[in-house]
């Protein structure tokens, strides 16, 4: 087929440096939508087939291949389920993409503050009593959004939440970004579709083995797929990348064919690593022993999170040491924990290296833990809706130490995990300021504000505070 359509590199001929970098086969797959290749904005042939196969593999009524990452899938869920002025019940430790969607459509968040584990400092799942209370106080809410699992592998009682929500005519949206393997492994926490949730999204590029930025949105029969497609098209690119689409399709196939054995091996490696790390002393690699039947209803055994404060080091410090001294790149390092993503691509010998490196770090760098901040999560004080605050008249670039008591119009968060410490419309407190300064000092990468150095924040102009 002779290309007289975009892309302009024409199978790489016009960009030899790109071909050298990525390889001929990769560049040749980069084509435009055309009749035989279908169109992601309106799939009727091959893409539709791929989506049907994906729906079957995941046990969903419909599946949508997404090229904007799970961010785009999460936002589609929020934008499908709600509109301006409507309420969504959600835990405060959501990914930034959720609150971004609320800035876009003007819906109102009703935050359920998660419990925090006092020792580990991490936010937990949603307690049933908290969900019941939120529903009681907001019977007109249109949806409940759940993180399942959370970044740290904590799962809520999804089945019961679905029952409660449906009794009150609310949709259940599940951010399953970290839970792709729930659909394919044995003995895994309950998946959203199996729990009867209405919509969920899985990051195929996390545990699914697909290319970065590729994701899948799943819906149950309660949600009209035609409407979902229209919502997706509100913001989706019209030039969807076939590299990502091909990657999604082939990875879906791999998961369907050999996901079970692959994830059994992953669980074995993670459990082995946990056992070995817990032999070192001071580190705590937590596992299913945390399950308490409510705020920690279940635990994702493939997640390897290590609590580091008792070695006298912040999680981010261990994260940096592992990278700089031992050539080991972890997924996350925050105030008290560091997290390794164990996946289908790992081998035992790398696990041995990780465990041994943790031994060596303790031998070389152990110190007293006094003075270390010990919790990740601070209860926010929500004064205005995110959309109102984002677009309200602002006072710009106030030095952060002078913002105590003001209402923030920006996001502030560490990335990863991308969970907002501050979101638009929330009041800034001294505790939050101290936390931000501490995180910066320890080396967390921070993002959100207009000021790239996070030394200044934008806040609501005084006159508009009520």
């Amino acid at each position: 087929m002779v290309p007289f359509d975009v892309p302009g590199h024409k199978r790489g001929r016009g960009n030899p440096e790109l071909v050298k970098l990525l390889g001929k086969q990769c560049v040749e797959l980069d084509v435009n939508s055309m009749k035989p290749l279908d169109n992601l904005c309106h799939p009727i042939s091959v893409i539709k087939e791929a989506e049907d196969l994906a729906a079957e593999a995941f046990g969903a009524a419909h599946a949508f291949l997404m090229v904007g990452g799970t961010t785009s899938a999460v936002q589609t869920m929020v934008l499908t389920a709600s509109k301006k002025g409507e309420k969504i019940i959600l835990p405060r430790n959501v990914h930034r993409s959720v609150i971004n969607a609320l800035v876009i459509n003007g819906a109102t968040p009703i935050y359920v503050n998660p419990d925090v584990d006092n020792r580990l400092g991490i936010a937990l799942g949603m307690k049933i009593s908290q969900v019941e209370k939120a529903i009681e106080e907001n019977p007109d809410a249109v949806a409940i959004l759940v993180n399942n699992p959370s970044y740290y592998g904590i799962c809520s009682n999804l089945k019961r939440i679905v029952e409660l929500a449906h009794e009150h005519n609310m949709l259940v949206l599940v951010d399953e970004a970290h839970g792709t393997h729930f659909y394919f492994g044995d003995d895994m926490p309950l998946s959203a579709m199996a729990a009867g949730a209405d919509m969920s999204c899985v990051s195929m590029h996390k545990s699914g083995g697909s290319l970065t930025q590729s994701s899948i949105l799943l819906t149950n029969s309660t949600v009209g797929p035609g409407y979902v497609r229209q919502v997706i098209n509100l913001t989706q690119t019209t030039s969807a990348s076939y590299l990502l689409l091909a990657s999604l399709d082939i990875s879906r196939r791999n998961l369907a064919l050999r996901g079970k054995e692959a994830f059994a091996e992953v669980v074995d490696m993670a459990e082995y690593a946990r056992t070995e790390i817990n032999k070192i002393g001071d580190y705590y690699a937590y596992g299913s022993e945390l399950i308490n039947g409510d705020s920690i209803f279940d635990f994702d055994k493939t997640k390897l999170t290590v609590f580091t404060l008792d070695v006298g080091l912040a999680g981010i410090e261990v994260y940096d040491l592992l990278r700089d001294e031992y050539d080991i790149q972890m997924e996350l390092g925050d105030i008290g924990n560091t997290l390794a993503y164990i996946s289908i691509g790992d081998r035992m010998r790398e696990i041995e290296r990780l465990v041994s490196a943790l031994y060596d770090i303790r031998r070389r760098f152990k110190r007293d833990r006094t003075g270390l901040f010990d919790h990740e999560y601070i209860n926010p004080s929500v004064v205005m809706s995110p959309q109102e605050a984002f677009y309200a008249p602002k006072e710009e670039m106030i030095p952060i130490k002078e913002t105590n008591g003001r209402i923030c119009t920006e996001f502030v968060m560490s990335y990863p995990p991308g969970i907002p410490i501050l979101a638009p419309g929330e009041r800034i407190t001294q505790e939050i300021i101290d936390y931000i300064l501490y995180a910066k000092e320890k080396g967390c990468s921070m993002t959100g504000p207009e000021d790239p150095k996070i030394e200044y924040l934008n806040v609501i102009k005084e006159a508009t505070i009520y």
Partner: protein, 286 residues
């Protein structure tokens, strides 16, 4: 008949050895082992196509790995050996009557079995009661041991594949911890001549310098290894490799060797200028 084994030393250089017979071949999860019989070098052991040792010149490698640390340490009794599946290092260690215990960690049990069967000149000591062989990952074995060994010998066949872990910071740190306060560690340090080998020499040296207060490199001539010029690393917590050598004490032990002498010991730490320079490059003190 022209039947030759060849090994590429670089893209442009290869060594070929004429072969009489291909005696053994086995592939497992770790690597592929082959053993040949050759007119010039006798029995040759290869792993993934790289020569590990030959009957004719193995004495050089095994003596230099073993006697350098054993001669310096005043009283070595407990020895830890990594790799060494062919048994040569253990054979040399058993020449010391005061050695009480040799723990050998060789992840590939196939090498040990093949050595016992086809390389008796090297593997004879592996059945000694003083020797315990552990078939497990090196890091897993050593990381929880504290202050137990006098000498650690890291006899790895190259730093690729399973040997990668033996080039890591955490491995050397764990060995440091596993040694007693006057312990010595030696390892194979590749070669400074060809570019790919040189990178590994520098990597190994850098990581060891960061872990041990005394770290020196020594050399030997090994005809069947790339460029014939090979390096070893000596690292210790207390003893300088040359200044603390008591030559008389070692010579009085009456141990028979064919390459090592106490004079050679003193000389082998004197390196060519280009080698000194490439080592100095990675020695920046933090």
């Amino acid at each position: 008949m022209e039947f030759w084994f060849s090994e590429l030393h670089t893209e442009n250089v290869k060594l070929s050895i004429k072969v009489n017979k291909h005696i053994f071949s086995e592939e497992n999860d770790h690597n592929r082992i082959d053993i040949f019989e050759s007119p010039e070098y006798g029995r040759v052991l290869t792993a993934d196509g790289y020569i590990v040792m030959t009957e004719r010149d193995e004495f050089i490698y095994h003596e230099m790995m073993t006697h350098i640390p054993m001669a310096v340490h005043p009283n070595p009794r407990k020895i830890l050996v990594f790799g060494a599946g062919d048994g040569g290092v253990v054979r040399e260690l058993l020449k010391y009557p005061d050695v009480e215990r040799i723990d050998m960690v060789e992840v590939n049990v196939g090498v040990v079995e093949a050595a016992k069967k086809y390389l008796p000149f090297s593997a004879s000591g592996l059945d000694s009661p003083k020797v315990t062989i552990y078939t497990q990952n090196a890091l897993r074995y050593v990381r929880h041991i504290v202050g137990e060994y006098d000498v650690i010998i890291v006899d790895s066949a190259g730093f690729y594949g399973p040997g990668e872990s033996l080039l890591s910071r955490e491995f050397y740190g764990s060995c440091y911890k596993a040694l007693r306060e006057d312990g010595i560690m030696v390892n194979q340090h590749q070669s400074p001549f060809y570019a790919d080998d040189r990178t590994e020499t520098q990597k190994a040296h850098k990581r060891i310098v960061e872990c041990f207060p005394i770290s020196r490199v020594y050399q030997a001539h090994i005809p069947t290894y790339p460029s014939g010029y090979w390096l070893f690393g000596y690292a210790s917590k207390k003893y300088h490799p040359v200044d603390d050598l008591d030559a008389k004490r070692w010579n009085d032990l009456g141990i028979e060797t064919n390459y090592y002498t106490t004079n050679l010991h003193k000389g082998c730490f004197a390196l060519p200028a280009y080698v000194e320079k490439l080592l100095a490059k990675v020695e920046s003190i933090r």
